[in-house]
Symmetry: C3
Subunit: 268 residues, 3 copies
């Protein structure tokens, strides 16, 4: 048998004390488990972006316990849950929308609301969630961690659909990566529905900022410093600047709406 595996995804910041605390608790309570950091640079409190990252990263792994903590409501009544997955493994985290997309992607077959351990209200990651993950890793059945809840009721984040009409795609910018690539809540079908095809010159705007871009397949389809609108490696429509920072150029890191417009008469 392979060793049990636990992944970590948080908004705690890269290699901060809080990430260290999770690792320490897991190393102490589940010393035989492998640990994989999925991401810790989620912007503080950005549940939606954390949820999207978890849903794209967790499926890369075999059955694992996925510990996720982006929890701006720590200390409020939102429950902490563990969700059993159809292929084995589980999601462990706050039921605030963070787990919804991953639960949908991996198949939620059971869920429990974690029993109140009397932990103080400020560091549930260390005091409640990591210990719960460790119990699963060392063989505890999901049902032993709390009271059953409907796995179909796990909360999903607000993911507003794009507005599409001929020559216009308007979508929420969900987040950015280290390179400034700005990912939109839209997919290849939305781009096609707007009639935007590789080679089209478009105007991309966010608030008061705008830039000219080319609908393209790869960064290298335009010279350095020029922008593209493309379908990225996650299947999402994204705005990128070849060897540059599109998010900075558009003055946004995510959370606002971005418009991609094909000027009249510009169709190739």
């Amino acid at each position: 048998v392979t060793a049990p595996l636990v992944t970590l995804l948080t908004d705690y910041g890269a290699q901060t004390e809080h990430v260290g605390a999770l690792h320490a608790v897991l190393a102490a309570a589940a010393p035989g488990a492998g640990r994989v950091d999925l991401a810790h640079d989620v912007p503080p409190g950005d549940v939606r972006w954390g949820a999207l990252l978890l849903a794209r990263l967790a499926p890369l792994l075999p059955a694992a316990v996925h510990l996720a903590v982006v929890d701006p409501g720590v200390g409020t009544a939102r429950p902490l849950v563990a969700v059993g997955l159809s292929g084995g493994g589980a999601l462990v985290g706050p039921d605030n929308g963070l787990l919804g997309p991953a639960a949908a992607a991996l198949g939620a077959v059971a869920a429990v609301r974690l029993a109140d351990t009397g932990a103080p209200a400020t560091f549930h990651g260390r005091d409640v969630l990591a210990p719960a993950a460790a119990r699963l890793l060392t063989g505890a059945p999901l049902a032993s961690l709390g009271t059953p809840v409907d796995p179909a009721g796990i909360a999903a984040p607000d993911l507003p659909p794009p507005h599409v009409r001929p020559g216009v795609l308007e979508a929420l910018a969900a987040g950015r990566d280290r390179f400034g690539n700005l990912q939109l809540l839209a997919g290849a079908a939305d781009l096609a529905a707007a009639g935007l095809r590789p080679g089209h010159r478009v105007r991309v705007s966010a608030g008061a900022c705008a830039l000219e871009a080319t609908v393209a397949r790869a960064f290298a389809d335009v010279p350095p410093g020029r922008a593209i609108v493309h379908v990225d490696a996650h299947g999402a429509v994204a705005v990128a600047v070849n060897r540059g920072d599109a998010a900075a150029a558009l003055g946004t890191s995510g959370g606002g709406r971005v418009r991609v417009v094909l000027p009249d008469g510009a169709r190739g």
Copy 2:
């Protein structure tokens, strides 16, 4: 028996080449040991904050070798030491205050000054400390690493006590976390001694900056954007802004004094 475990805490920055060098040296010389990163984003040279983090994180683990490097005096005469702990394991690092609180928390039962290996004077972490940690991990006795020194003499950092009087708590801001929560060198007893209780409206100031806050138990006790003074998950008095950044609002990241004042007549 469980595998040997080594933790790493530095001010080298998250996933920098310097952290990579420590991991590489440990992976090469102690391939069977598990490695846990406790924190690497300690502000450069902030020995006090590094010492406090080490003392709170190391006790989360079973017996381990804790390699810690925050060493603004690298190349000076301050010794490099290894400290044997009462529950097994050791601390390895510069004797500049960084190890004192952890030594006190875990119980120092022996100590050696590491033998001079003739390493150049600029990267003791890679050239002296990580190799010493690896020797301990592979079974070398503490005494074989250098000359005995008094474990009671391990240096502690400067931790100035708070000033407390009725309605006033003034304390050093020791550091901040990724969320901008600002931790003070004061505890629940100091808060109580100042007569500050949950529900009190207080004024928090640092230098020329100030904000209004509520003494509270959890972030969620105030609306988003409002500040609290609370006892945090480490037992320290802290200033936080619900879904905001208290350190930025107060214009400090630690190192200066913070005053919490209950206005006359404001007691509930």
Copy 3:
């Protein structure tokens, strides 16, 4: 036998989703391999700095598969390669200069151009390179990964030599570390050839910025806040400020030229 080992070096940023994706792919496809992060904070697209870091870090480890991704030309025609090393292990990455110095340091004995897997053009790290590394880790022979190419032809980055004359050393600043130490493309012999010796007071300039410094052996040879020019722990000439940030003082993070000048009559 020891477990197989894979190292990771990228410009993906510390503990970002992209680093997480590489770890996830490796943990899934080569679960028995140890993983060591060498560095992920390489400035975006800085192939030269990544190449220098890889060449200094990889030799710290025994035979390993070194997965390196700094690839501003992702999607262009530059090949992806795997390079077999004389002591065992391999380098896996884009053949854009990133692997050259490490190949020279470790001895390249064979190389293949990775077969086109039909992966999309934007995330070769996750889709091509990490899977290739995993295949090597699980025993696949190098030759099975693609078509042979000349290992002597692996690209090296542009490393312009310093200009040296009596009292003057001018060199490219290759990069900086977290402490603001600025590393030059020059070594101890260049410093000596310029007649610069410990104790000399020199002027260091980069563009319009300049500072006074002392040629020294260690940070502690000057008071806090003062600058030194020294041979660092990697054998390179570097500019540093004791407990300060030389790169910030010189207004550069690398990529420009730095001049170290001994004023007339200043020789000790």
